[in-house]
């Protein structure tokens, strides 16, 4: 039996050894989880050895089934089996109807309380929303990671399409929260793919050349093109583009339509027929990878699908992706010839016709050595390993941009852009507002995302209500509202009345998403269903948070505690840490949280001094090399 290590009172134990971190590709069609072990990233398999988890969730009276079993049941039980749910994330019911798909689901009234404006789907197990469905997929992957790494996860990097707007990113993060995951970062899928290929690694000569990389990502339900610039270890997203409603599923639909037409089935089918048609279409498409002509049959009808016919069916869809490539290159101020590397991502890039067209467009052979289904999860795992602190990669930094402009509604339903698309995040923008009535104490700000002039043509993100503005005559109040977008692309808003210094109170109503209280309620629902002990989980979460806080503090103290703190300050911090340790070992979740808050407050001056020190160091390094370079 291993001996327990116990540190002397007042002394600090060594920080944890390896943390348990995973990368998760939460895909439209398939999802995966990967981790770094013995220096290499690998996808983690289920018990049956398969690494892919189909993003299909089936609700039955007996419980929830996720993966292959659920996907297989989609044909026989279409109403209770949710597939491609990622397309619904951060969207409203009207958007989804606009997809023009033949969706088999029964939608409940979206104005129902607590649905947050999201589509709500009726199943035999009750109503569910897209965030809950995604959380079911994440739970399975998180469990797989925990089983494989031998304990609860310390953190996860979850990937999202570069094209995802704020609401879609927020919905993804909310799903992670419901699944009990700590999100280290939402990472753009194409960036993860570039990391997986090690395009940031030095060549034989030890140099890392500056280069431009195009990542062509055609998944089941989304297409993304990203133009990245790699320069001295910094990945900079120059531009992104794509279509969040275009993918391999559309290939299957186009082929299915052809089959239906050839078989004389007309265009209006019930859900089960549509599913079966799609299965036949998908099988034919995959068979064509090795053949030039394959037999296809449906019901009594049988025929043949040739590569030429397939090209004819797919070319209009592929052309759409290439137009987006052209636009992204233009946004980055580049020609196709200036792209040094092309990376293929997503199962749909296995389709030969796609590879041919992409190679022709960029004039070079794309990278396709890593399984295009796994490449994103592998890149995410590599980044998770760095962020959680297992591996120091001082040379690698991923800078992301906001994919769509962020604006506010002004008079007459017009959009005023505050943060333009492709601006590097994090970013903050302040805007001043005033009142238009005497004594006005509240105002509402409608935030939208998109490129169009009219509010109605953009995506509504949220309505922020400011309250507590001191009453003044019209136009006298100067309210400075700061819109902050963090490194995950998520928006937060603060407001200050300048003349009085009063901080306005803000409540957020996401247009298609959840408020904090909705998430709490859903968490409680999920405990009730899963027979999980809510108290045990709350305690465990508080303890993990305490461990994280203590460890961050230990590392900081080791680095420069002696240098930046007086003896008295050091003593106070150590006492607060000891109090937190005690609470961690036997206190209630509330006690632990309040000790964490105390420690955080007490350490604020220390954090500020550490920052100042970083700044001084950055400035000195600068003055040395800046003026020596010719």
């Amino acid at each position: 039996m291993a001996l327990l290590q116990i540190s002397e009172p007042g002394q600090t134990p060594e920080p944890h050894q390896r943390k348990r971190a995973v990368g998760i590709d939460l895909g439209t069609t398939n999802s995966l989880v990967a981790t770094v072990r013995s220096g290499a990233a690998e996808s983690l398999p289920a018990e049956d050895g398969r690494v892919i988890l189909p993003s299909a969730v089936r609700y039955t009276e007996a419980g929830v089934e996720v993966g292959y079993g659920a996907r297989a049941a989609a044909g026989e039980d279409p109403y209770n089996t949710l597939i491609s749910i990622k397309r619904f994330m951060g969207r409203g019911l009207a958007d989804i109807k606009n997809f023009g798909d033949q969706l088999p689901y029964h939608f409940a009234d979206p104005s129902a309380e607590g649905s947050g404006g999201m589509p709500v789907i009726e199943t035999v197990a009750g109503t569910v929303n897209p965030v809950q469905v995604s959380a079911e997929i994440l739970k399975v992957l998180a469990q797989r990671g925990a089983d494989s790494l031998g304990g609860p996860l310390d953190g996860a990097v979850i990937t999202v399409p570069a094209y995802f707007d704020e609401a879609q990113r927020q919905a993804t993060k909310d799903a992670a929260k419901l699944a009990g995951l700590k999100v280290l970062r939402l990472l753009n899928e194409p960036t993860a793919a570039a990391v997986a290929y090690g395009l940031d690694q030095p060549d034989e000569g030890g140099d890392v050349a500056d280069k431009t990389i195009a990542v062509y990502d055609l998944g089941g339900g989304t297409f993304d093109i990203s133009i990245l610039r790699l320069s001295k270890g910094v990945f900079e997203v120059l531009s992104t583009g794509g279509d969040s409603a275009l993918g391999g599923d559309d290939f299957d639909r186009a082929i299915a339509e052809w089959i239906a037409q050839e078989a004389g089935l007309g265009t209006d089918h019930d859900a089960a027929t549509q599913r079966n048609l799609l299965d036949a279409a998908c099988a034919a498409k995959e068979a064509l990878a090795g053949e030039s002509l394959v037999p296809v049959s449906y019901g009594d009808w049988s025929g043949e699908l040739s590569r030429e016919k397939l090209a004819e069916l797919l070319d209009p869809l592929i052309a759409k992706t290439l137009r987006a490539c052209k636009r992204a290159l233009r946004d980055a101020d580049l020609n196709a010839e200036e792209v040094a590397e092309v990376v293929l991502v997503g199962g749909s890039t296995r389709t030969l016709r796609v590879r041919e067209k992409v190679q022709a467009f960029f004039g070079r052979e794309p990278h396709a050595d890593i399984d295009p289904d796994q490449v994103v999860a592998i890149g995410a795992a590599l980044q998770a390993d760095v962020l959680v602190g297992n591996k120091s990669r001082e040379d690698l930094l991923l800078l992301d941009v906001i994919p769509l402009s962020l604006g506010i509604e002004t008079m007459g339903g017009l959009t005023e852009k505050l943060i333009h698309r492709n601006t590097t995040i994090p970013v903050a923008k302040a805007q001043e507002f005033t009142t238009f009535k005497d004594g006005q104490t509240a105002m509402a700000i409608h935030v939208v995302q998109g490129e169009r002039e009219l509010v109605q043509d953009c995506r509504s993100l949220a309505r922020f209500e400011l309250r507590g503005i001191p009453p003044m005559v019209a136009g006298a109040a100067h309210i400075r509202v700061t819109f902050q977008v963090d490194a995950d692309g998520l928006l937060s808003v603060t407001a200050l009345e300048k003349s009085s210094g009063v901080q306005a109170e803000i409540t957020v109503k996401p247009s298609y998403g959840l408020g904090d209280s909705d998430i709490t309620r859903m968490l409680q629902d999920s405990y009730a269903n899963a027979e999980e002990d809510i108290a045990a989980r709350a305690l465990r979460e508080a303890q993990v948070e305490a461990e994280r806080t203590l460890e961050a503090m230990l590392v900081a103290l080791q680095e420069n505690g002696a240098e930046l703190l007086s003896e008295q300050e050091l003593g106070e911090l150590e006492r607060a840490m000891e109090a937190l340790r005690l609470a961690h070992n036997g206190g209630t979740p509330e006690e632990i949280r309040s000790r964490i808050d105390e420690l955080n407050t007490l350490s604020e001056p220390f954090a500020a001094r550490r920052m100042d020190k970083s700044i001084k160091r950055a400035m000195q390094g600068h003055s040395l090399d800046e003026f020596d370079t010719p």
Partner: protein, 174 residues
């Protein structure tokens, strides 16, 4: 770096219109390596928040200095000149020239060779832009702030024209 430092100081660059873009890009990367929130993912909440604010400021400074019009406006702001976003140039000759250019832009679609005509327009707008940049830089160096402001207003006009040319180019390509 401190929150009250001006954008040029953050990057250790001399305050002026001419900017060494390579030095700016290099410095930008160095600073983000130091302050990006990813560097603080395992640190305390307070440090995470500070790093986000710093990283946002570095981005803002970089965007301002990278963009010729934003840089010019910022320089005037540092010199204490207020720019009203509604304000426009009063130079009649310049406005006339702009009207002619815009009319040509509107007629591009019906031109015999739209792409060639658009390219002509683009290079003409580019030359005019360069000329105003020189005018701005000279005026600012000589502290003739009125002239600098007048050049800035023209730069804004020309930048808008260039954007419209690019948009039309994109439309034509599709």
């Amino acid at each position: 770096m401190e929150l009250q430092q001006n954008h040029f100081e953050i990057f250790g660059l001399p305050v002026g219109y001419a900017v060494d873009r390579q030095a700016l890009a290099r410095r930008y990367r160095e600073l983000q390596q130091e302050f990006h929130p990813d560097r603080f993912a395992a640190k305390s909440e307070r440090e995470q928040m500070l790093s986000m604010q710093y990283a946002a400021q570095i981005n803002e400074a970089n965007n301002t200095l990278k963009d010729p019009v934003a840089r010019a406006a910022y320089l005037l702001q540092l010199a204490g000149v207020e720019i009203n976003p509604e304000q426009t140039t009063a130079d009649g000759e310049f406005l006339m020239q702009q009207m002619i250019l815009r009319e040509r832009l509107e007629d591009v679609r019906s031109a015999a060779d739209p792409e060639a005509e658009l390219e002509d327009l683009g290079s003409e707008a580019g030359q005019l832009f360069k000329a105003q940049e020189t005018a701005f830089s000279t005026a600012l160096q000589g502290s003739v702030l009125d002239e600098a402001k007048s050049a800035l207003l023209k730069l804004q006009f020309l930048a808008k024209l260039q954007r419209q040319i690019e948009e039309l180019e994109e439309d034509l390509l599709d």
